[in-house]
């Protein structure tokens, strides 16, 4: 084997093994240990001897997660919030992607830039922008009161509604781009053929355009659903104490309660939940890559 080729493969491989793959085993190891008043705050450690360490491991933290309502509810409510936000993102994103794909050619670079620009803008700032809009004395309530549509300010901040708005808003470009890519590749003569054969415009849209952009919709849904499931910033900033999401629970378990073993157990379970959508997503990406070549 050529030495250059070996280095080319080995360097990124070793980096990812050391800093991405192995750390998961450490998380798993610590999820099996107990909370201790020490630095680091868990026991047993390797210092106690490998054999002693292995024999002291147990699944106590996992039985604790199963017995305490808080964690179950947090996992379920994260799944629900991620799912509903994904559906809303499709409803908002598909017409935009469709409009872009049907726009005159000279508009397209500008439209594309407008979708990509929020990508480059700080995520934290984009979430923060909603605080001033959604709060009780915020701009939305001021506008609605001024229009006379409501008599008393609506409570949107610190509710799940605010979290839905935040997730759809920040992840929308991830939905638009893959759908746009699929619609852009779509052969328009197929739609014309459907219309020539007697389909109405709407019917041709549902029978030809939507099925052919399926891969884009699937990719977009995964790109919104998976990160939304473990989201921390949006539920903390917009959801307040009114929303329960697992990313927030993990963060607080770690930083406020300083219970590293339980935080690790929460992470292990979250990872197990995520394995299914992540594998499906990778399979979808591979199929698309094969279809392209």
């Amino acid at each position: 084997m050529n030495i250059r080729r070996f280095i080319l493969i080995a360097v990124p491989y070793a980096w990812l093994l050391a800093l991405f793959f192995i750390p998961f085993f450490i998380v798993f190891k610590i999820s099996l240990s107990d909370l201790a008043l020490a630095i680091p705050p868990y026991s047993p450690t390797v210092k106690d001897g490998i054999f002693n360490m292995l024999s002291a491991f147990d699944f106590e933290n996992f039985t604790f997660l199963a017995s305490d309502d808080l964690y179950w509810k947090a996992y379920l409510s994260s799944l629900k919030i991620a799912l509903i936000s994904t559906i809303f993102a499709v409803i908002v994103g598909y017409p935009m992607a469709y409009g872009m794909a049907r726009a005159p050619d000279e508009w397209r670079p500008t439209l594309m830039m407008l979708v990509i620009l929020p990508f480059w803008t700080s995520f934290l700032i984009r979430v923060y922008a909603w605080v001033g809009i959604l709060s009780n004395e915020g701009l939305l309530n001021q506008l609605l009161l001024w229009l006379g549509l409501i008599d008393a300010p609506l409570t949107i901040m610190n509710t799940t509604t605010a979290v839905y708005i935040g997730i759809v808003y920040t992840y929308l470009p991830f939905m638009i781009l893959p759908i746009y890519a699929a619609l852009d590749r779509l052969d328009e003569s197929l739609i014309e053929a459907a219309e020539d054969l007697g389909c109405s415009r709407t019917k041709a849209f549902w029978l030809v355009t939507v099925p052919l952009s399926r891969n884009g919709i699937i990719a977009g849904c995964f790109l919104v659903f998976i990160p939304a499931l473990g989201e921390f910033v949006i539920p903390s900033l917009l959801g307040g104490s009114g929303t329960l999401m697992i990313g927030k629970v993990l963060f607080e378990e770690f930083f406020n309660n300083r219970d590293w073993p339980v935080a690790s157990a929460v992470a292990v379970v979250l990872l197990l939940i995520l394995i299914v959508p992540i594998t499906l997503f990778q399979r979808n990406q591979q199929r698309q890559a094969e279809a392209d070549t």
Partner: protein, 273 residues
């Protein structure tokens, strides 16, 4: 047959209003002289002045930039290597694991990545600070770089490399003289992406930072948890402004380049016919 229908124009207008209105309002209210962010009390730039005099923010900005420059450069080198291995590497042992490790960080929740890296750093006894944040940021952003670069490598005409090899180039020279100049735009956008990801990261940095190295997002986070603050609005406006100018400039440059390439192509065709 491309006509802009009313339905399409409406959905685009509403969609972009949804995407941009919150940011526009944020910029607008950063020039508000009132401390109450939602009450307009006249134009003022005083919050920008307060921001510049706030040394904690300046220190955090310096740390953030340092981390972003180092980590995005490392990520670009590693990510380009990984992309090359994935697209051109052929078969080798553990290829499936490798491609899995390249794609998984893209969708991995930040809380998990942050927690696992922190536990690693504690486990090997590495003091938390700028170095640990750089290592963490390099790891997740190299995967983004690799996706951007490999999508360019896939569409790249392989016969050009083969021609260079036939003409006596070593594989390394063929990469340096033929491949790299062609994939350069993708490598540059990969670097920019890694840079912004690093500037932006709150969760992973919170886990991997030490007491002496606070980054700007951590600083912003502790300020906005208490509610809307006019200083943060001013800071956000500056950041939005820099990004907007950068993205518009980049798209103008690439447009200019496409137009020039078309001209060159036309000229070449005229020359041969």
């Amino acid at each position: 047959m491309r006509r802009a229908s009313w339905f399409n124009i409406t959905s685009l207008t509403l969609g972009f209003a949804f995407l941009y209105l919150p940011m526009v309002l944020l910029v607008f209210y950063s020039f508000n002289s009132s401390k109450l962010v939602t009450v307009w009390a006249g134009f003022s730039t005083k919050w920008y002045g307060e921001l510049i005099r706030n040394e904690a923010f300046l220190d955090a900005a310096v740390v953030t930039l340092k981390v972003a420059v180092i980590s995005s450069t490392l990520a670009t080198i590693l990510g380009t290597m990984a992309a090359y291995v994935l697209v051109r590497g052929g078969k080798f042992m553990g290829r499936t694991l490798f491609s899995g490790m390249v794609y998984a960080p893209l969708v991995m929740p930040e809380v998990i990545t942050g927690l696992s890296l922190l536990l690693l750093f504690i486990g090997i006894g590495l003091d938390r600070g700028v170095l640990t944040i750089v290592l963490a940021h390099t790891t997740f952003s190299m995967c983004y770089v690799s996706v951007v670069v490999s999508s360019r490598l896939v569409t790249f005409d392989r016969s050009l490399e083969e021609a260079a090899l036939d003409l006596g180039c070593s594989p390394f020279d063929a990469f340096r003289l033929v491949t790299l100049p062609i994939i350069a735009p993708a490598v540059i956008s990969g670097w920019l992406l890694a840079f912004t990801l690093s500037l932006d990261d709150l969760v992973i940095a919170s886990f991997t930072t030490g007491p002496s190295s606070t980054t700007l997002p951590i600083k912003i986070w502790s300020a906005v948890r208490l509610g809307v603050s006019p200083e943060i609005n001013a800071l956000s406006t500056i950041m939005i402004g820099v990004v907007t100018v950068g993205v518009i400039a980049a798209s103008l440059i690439s447009k200019h380049r496409t137009v020039k390439a078309q001209h060159d192509l036309q000229a070449a065709e005229r020359g041969t016919s």
